[in-house]
């Protein structure tokens, strides 16, 4: 068995047995939902439905209901799209990249982070679709034989690359997530007594039985999926950034975009994971599994990616001046001092200053502070996309077409609505799905559980009798068979 250094903080606090892990995770699913769940679900549902209403109004009336104009053809829609895709980067990063790096702490958070990823990418995908105005011709983005001659989609266009990147990312993340869920659904299936849930979990668990050969395949499939998902995570936001970087708009036309967008995506994704998990661990009593150490690790990721983002901001500012291109220099000067100065400086404060506070150990181990910063970061990351998109195009080459963007209430409704829908999905997930990866957590119990690390866990009577791996003491009555 893999032995872990004794000075390393345990990942599972206190003494837990395999059965207790099952209990802790399955109890909230089997019990009645607390009143608070219904309240939150109700609020999220109302907001989500309002958003759906706004979307229907938009589809029925046209894109004109957004606050776009001749100069500013892209604003909140694409801002929200990039924001949601960015948030959707933490889950697969946690489950794929951290799996390849053998980071065991990911096991407590990967399941819910991936669920969050999938729901966030759903919300992201909604924006380009409704921006088409005619949702029902969305399939035109696919290279299907058609009766227009056959006129194919343009494979040279970053917008089409985006179609492929987002749909691949969504479907691969979904498969990765579900393959991990199957054995845990089987655990619930074998526990629940009521016939309808039993039937439901039985279907969801695909008849999983936990045979040695199946586990052998399971581990390899997880590893290979992690291997292919790792470059995928980095490619997706790189491709999203190509939407801008391959254009010739000052402020967008920069080669720094792919790494800068990826870092920003991870930054905002981890912040969203923090926001959700800090509440979830309390509400579902999972403090033994998701504790200060996990929060600290995630804060370190936020600090590193936040610093990359900050460096990128300063680099592009410098290069805009150093390049000697007047238009480029003006785009950045206008960002910082023009009519959108407040958006620029909000972005700078939220994304550059706030993660630097994580250098202080006291602060990055403080749960309340983390919660506040996690929200600040996501506000900052929304402003980042808004600044990049709107301030770069609102003053173009022809001063007579200079304009401002004012969001309409439909802009606002659709955006708020996606937040509502996101929480509807996440609350349903927390209610009916195993929120921790049971089968993975059980594999690290003996190497990273607190009681096993400090030898307070009872030695199994079989080993106590046979003197194999016996340290500590035997305080259990022996089974006789």
């Amino acid at each position: 068995m893999h032995k872990e250094a004794a000075i390393r903080e345990p990942l599972i606090l206190g003494h837990k047995t395999y059965h207790e892990i099952t209990e802790d995770v399955c109890k909230p699913i089997e019990d009645k939902a607390p009143r608070m769940w219904y309240i939150l679900f109700g609020i999220a549902l109302v907001i989500g439905l309002y958003g759906v209403g706004c979307i229907f109004y938009l589809l029925g009336t046209g894109i004109g209901v957004w606050g776009l104009n001749k100069t500013i053809g892209w604003a909140w829609d694409i801002t929200n799209f990039v924001w949601w895709v960015g948030i959707g980067h933490a889950g697969t990063l946690i489950s794929a990249v951290l799996l390849l790096f053998r980071q065991k702490w990911r096991m407590a958070i990967n399941r819910s982070a991936e669920a969050m990823t999938i729901f966030a990418v759903f919300m992201a995908g909604l924006f380009p679709l409704i921006h088409m105005g005619r949702l029902w011709v969305g399939y035109w983005t696919l290279p299907l034989p058609n009766h227009f001659g056959s006129l194919w989609v343009n494979f040279n266009s970053p917008l089409l690359w985006d179609v492929f990147a987002i749909s691949t990312y969504l479907s691969v993340s979904l498969v990765f997530w579900y393959i991990g869920l199957i054995p845990d659904f089987a655990t619930i299936r074998d526990r629940v007594k009521k016939p309808i849930p039993k039937k439901m979990y039985s279907i969801l668990s695909f008849g999983w039985s936990g045979r040695a050969k199946h586990w052998n395949r399971f581990e390899l499939v997880s590893l290979v999926l992690a291997g292919v998902a790792t470059p995928l995570v980095f490619s997706v936001h790189s491709i999203v950034s190509f939407d801008f970087a391959t254009s010739v708009i000052p402020g967008w036309h920069t080669t720094i975009f792919p790494p800068y967008f990826v870092a920003g995506a991870v930054f905002s994704g981890f912040a969203m994971v923090q926001t959700l998990l800090l509440v979830m661990r309390k509400a579902m009593k999972l403090e033994a599994y998701i504790h200060t150490r996990h929060v600290e690790y995630m804060n370190i990721v936020i600090m590193v990616t936040g610093s990359i983002v900050g460096t990128a901001y300063i680099t592009e500012l410098f290069i805009s001046w150093y390049s000697g291109v007047e238009y480029e220099a003006y785009a950045f000067f206008n960002r910082a001092t023009g009519p959108y100065w407040w958006a620029y400086w909000s972005m700078m404060t939220c994304n550059v200053v706030s993660p630097q506070l994580m250098w202080f150990k006291k602060l990055r181990r403080s749960l309340l502070f983390t919660f506040v910063i996690s929200i600040v970061v996501n506000i900052g990351m929304w402003f980042e996309r808004y600044v990049i998109i709107v301030t770069s195009i609102h003053r173009d080459y022809l001063p007579s077409s200079w304009s401002m963007h004012y969001p309409s209430h439909i802009d606002l409704g659709v955006y708020i609505g996606t937040i509502g829908l996101f929480f509807v999905f996440f609350l349903l997930f927390a209610r009916f799905f195993p929120v921790l990866a049971l089968n993975e957590l059980k594999t690290i119990l003996k190497s990273s559980g607190e009681s096993y690390k400090n030898d307070t866990a009872p030695v199994h009577p079989y080993f106590a009798k046979n003197g194999h791996g016996s340290h500590g003491h035997d305080d259990h009555d022996t089974h006789n068979h």
Binding site: M1, G207, V221, S235, H479
Partner: protein, 178 residues
């Protein structure tokens, strides 16, 4: 034909592993192990071979790369070459840089889904399939070793039971399976 199967239950993965090692050393064949999580190191003991799904994933990925290349070559170069921004689509090689993102995405798409589907089919884990674990507790905290009498012709049932009892087993169950 009905076959007699012994299910030996353990309450710890290391005890089961130790027991399996001892039994195999005595020449007993362990047919299968049911566990709530992967027991590391059990596969070589009971003779489960490393899966070749990784090779399959590579082949599916290769299929994706090939399909994407052939497809884009046909769509963009042969069937309807478009002149976009004064950059005509003359040959595949001229345009290959623009095709890399989608070639990559499609490779990943085919590798991941191809492997996942193969995995589910091989395991026979599909929606609606019945569970075959001998005891519901094996998805919680119990570990079961399956011994088949037909695999272990050289031992009598009593001998197998005696050997099992030395391995820290907590429950033994016998079943006839078809």
């Amino acid at each position: 034909m009905a076959e007699k199967v012994i299910y030996a239950m353990y309450d710890d993965d290391d005890v089961l592993k130790d027991g399996a090692k001892k039994l195999v050393a005595k020449g007993v064949k362990v047919a299968d192990v049911f566990s709530p999580f992967p027991i590391h190191g059990i596969d070589p003991i009971i003779g489960v071979k490393q899966t070749r799904l990784g090779i399959m994933a590579f082949l599916y990925g290769l299929t994706g790369t090939t399909l994407a290349t052939l497809g884009m070559n046909y769509f963009m170069i042969h069937d309807w070459p478009m002149n976009i921004g004064g950059k005509p689509s003359m040959t595949y090689l001229d345009n290959v840089l623009a095709f890399i993102p989608i070639t990559f995405e499609f490779t990943v798409l085919c590798a991941a889904h191809g492997m996942a589907i193969t995995y589910l089919l091989l395991n026979r884990t599909l929606p609606g399939m019945p569970a075959t674990n001998p005891d519901p507790r094996t998805t919680d905290d119990k570990f079961v070793m399956e011994l088949r009498l037909s695999d272990n012709g050289q031992f009598s049932e009593g001998e197998l039971m005696a050997m099992l009892n030395e391995t820290g087993v907590i429950e033994v169950d016998q079943k006839d399976i078809h």
